[in-house]
């Protein structure tokens, strides 16, 4: 694995009034890595992700994403990242290819690039026949995979996935992860939050957030050895059961 770091944070903190959502997060994500970001609801995952995406200004600490500073170069960061949230995030009333064209277009891709990408992407997903179908008419599993492909259509360095497989059946989830692996093989760094502990096993490294701090961070295998358990589920439980914060 390449050891070039694409996300570096140093005591990254976000306060909302007296509430500390993220407390001195310090970690590093390498290029091409699949980095799992775990935590119970309300642990501060989404806040951390938003700061890294340039949606939220940190209260203190430092962070760079793709080599750009989150305070001063948010716009440069936005150009280099992709994002997909738990909520399905394509336009229902546009066709598959119109969606691709739109999202490619707002990243400033040229029409010919978009066309090339569109046909490559559709054949990869075996959706060629559905190019002119409205997104609302294609099955949910396909939508999810399409949404992921669209989020990396502009060739970002890093893609942030916020609980991307929420409400998806196990088979589709497995296929979804195949897509993630493919992207990672091409050098895209994947930063993913999830609730599914089987998915945590698929990550190269995971960080587990509890009450706004990173409770532990390592490869899944090493975490299991460290806590002397057989699954990530038990690792998570060992760390999260002492959480004070209620879910939001």
């Amino acid at each position: 694995m390449n050891t070039e770091a694409v996300i570096v944070t140093d005591k990254l903190t976000k306060r909302f009034g007296p509430f500390i959502a993220c407390n001195e997060l310090t970690f590093q994500v390498d290029k091409g890595e699949i980095f799992g970001f775990l935590g119970a609801n309300g642990a501060g995952k989404t806040t951390a992700m938003r700061m890294l995406c340039g949606l939220l200004n940190p209260s203190s600490g430092k962070a760079t994403v793709a080599g750009f500073d989150v305070y001063t170069q948010a716009n440069r960061i936005k150009q280099r990242i992709g994002y997909m949230s738990q909520r399905f995030s394509l336009y229902d009333d546009l066709t598959v290819s119109e969606n691709i064209r739109f999202f490619g277009g707002i990243y400033g891709m040229s029409i010919s690039d978009i066309k090339k990408k569109t046909s490559a992407l559709l054949s990869e997903l075996q959706l060629e026949k559905e190019a002119k179908t409205l997104v609302r008419d294609i099955p949910p599993g396909w939508k999810q995979k399409l949404a992921f492909s669209v989020s990396i259509v502009h060739g970002p360095d890093i893609v942030f996935l916020d609980e991307p497989t929420g409400g998806v059946d196990p088979v589709t989830r497995r296929q979804f992860w195949d897509l993630i692996y493919e992207a990672a093989d091409k050098g895209v760094t994947v930063f993913v939050t999830t609730h599914y502990m089987d998915e945590a096993e698929y990550c190269n490294r995971v960080s587990i957030m509890v009450d706004g701090v990173i409770a532990d961070l390592d490869a899944p295998a090493r975490l299991k050895t460290k806590y002397q358990v057989s699954s990530m589920e038990e690792v998570f439980y060992a760390l999260a059961r002492n959480a004070v914060r209620k879910a939001d």
Binding site: L55, K78, F88, I106, Y107
Partner: protein
């Protein structure tokens, strides 16, 4: 710039895909105007007339018969004195009264002119105008044939008097009112709903994470609504010219310019609404209750503002449609130029750019 075009294209796709809404958007002004047009033509038939004939000669009788023979009118009663007219109107069954003075035919034969009073119920201004116009035509008809008979021109001067509502507010008020209402509804509701929809869908987050400029998001949201509103404006103007006989008397450029100012104001209000609304329903209710009611009540086309209590009169100054309504009335109906409406135009311009600046500033660049 290219990104902006991509975005605007997407917005238009949204609009054109949603056939139902599209139909409603363009159906709204047409329905309002057609309804109004029908209401207008139906009511005039068989209007009941009261007659006060002080002269009681052959000519007055001829005129009365001529009026009575007209399908639009029906002679309801012969009153003895003009003092009974008010009571007859208050009973509500007559729409118009004719009063022939003493010496009607003597005056007509000797001096060549005579007057007849035409008194109409101004509280129903549409009807009053139409009815008095018809009667004037019938009388003009009669004098024309009489002139031929007599061999020299004679003239009967109808003296038109409106009871209860002397300056006839209402009739031509309708079109400017519909314009204000339709533009306000389309702009405010469409804008707020289309932005809140992206929030609900989760696509707003994607847009905010992208390098796409927030100002561009707003501009592209406004573009289709601006176009739809201008098309609506055009439909209303054409329909009112064709069916209601209300052409644009003044400068169309001035009218369109002021309409754009008003549209911009409404779009900005829609933006402001979308900032606080969490769901599409909330946005829709907000625009209906928050904008439609004040527009209907405080614009002056349903209820005259002059008759309102002071607090409401002061409040009406804040309603943009009130100023737009005045401009449309002056420019479209009276044919006045910028000299007559510069004050209202200025107020509208300040509102438009002020609200636009506020909504731009408040539109959250970062999702909280």
């Amino acid at each position: 710039m290219k990104q902006l075009l991509v975005f605007i294209r997407k917005e238009f796709l949204h609009v054109f895909r949603d056939r139902k809404t599209l139909l409603m958007l363009f159906g709204l002004p047409i329905a309002q105007i057609v309804l109004f047009g029908f209401a207008l033509s139906n009511e005039v038939k068989d209007s009941k007339i009261a007659v006060v004939d002080y002269s009681k000669d052959i000519m007055t009788r001829q005129i009365i018969n001529k009026v009575g023979a007209n399908p639009y009118f029906e002679i309801e009663s012969n009153l003895k004195s003009a003092t009974d007219i008010d009571a007859a109107f208050r009973k509500g069954n007559i729409k118009v009264a004719l009063v022939f003075p003493d010496n009607f035919s003597t005056d007509l034969i000797h001096t060549g002119t005579a007057t007849v009073q035409v008194i109409a119920d101004g509280s129903d201004p549409n009807l009053a105008t139409t009815v008095t116009n018809y009667i004037s035509t019938v009388i003009a008809d009669y004098t024309a044939s009489l002139s031929l008979q007599e061999g020299h021109p004679v003239q009967v001067q109808p003296e038109i008097q409106m009871l209860y509502n002397p300056d006839l507010r209402g009739a031509p008020n309708f079109i400017p009112g519909v314009m204000a209402l339709v533009l306000m509804l389309v702009c405010t509701m469409m804008t707020s709903v289309s932005i809140v929809r992206e929030k609900e869908l989760g696509t707003m987050e994607i847009l905010l994470v992208s390098p796409f400029n927030t100002t561009y998001i707003i501009l592209s949201k406004l573009a289709p609504n601006l176009l739809i509103s201008l098309v609506n404006l055009f439909i209303i103007l054409v329909l009112s010219d064709l069916f209601l006989d209300l052409p644009v008397k003044g400068s169309i450029v001035l009218l369109v310019f002021c309409s754009i100012l008003f549209i911009l104001t409404c779009l900005s209000i829609g933006l402001l609404l979308s900032i606080s609304a969490k769901t599409q329903q909330a946005a829709m209710m907000g625009s209906l209750m928050g904008m439609m009611l004040p527009t209907m009540l405080l614009t002056g086309f349903l209820f005259p503002i002059e008759n309102m209590p002071l607090p409401l009169r002061l409040l009406s100054n804040l309603v943009p449609s009130r100023w737009y309504f005045i401009i449309v009335k002056q420019v479209m109906l009276k044919g006045l130029g910028i000299g007559a409406v510069w004050k209202e135009t200025l107020i509208l311009a300040v509102m438009a750019f002020g609200l636009f600046a506020i909504s731009l500033r408040n539109f959250k660049i970062r999702l909280q």
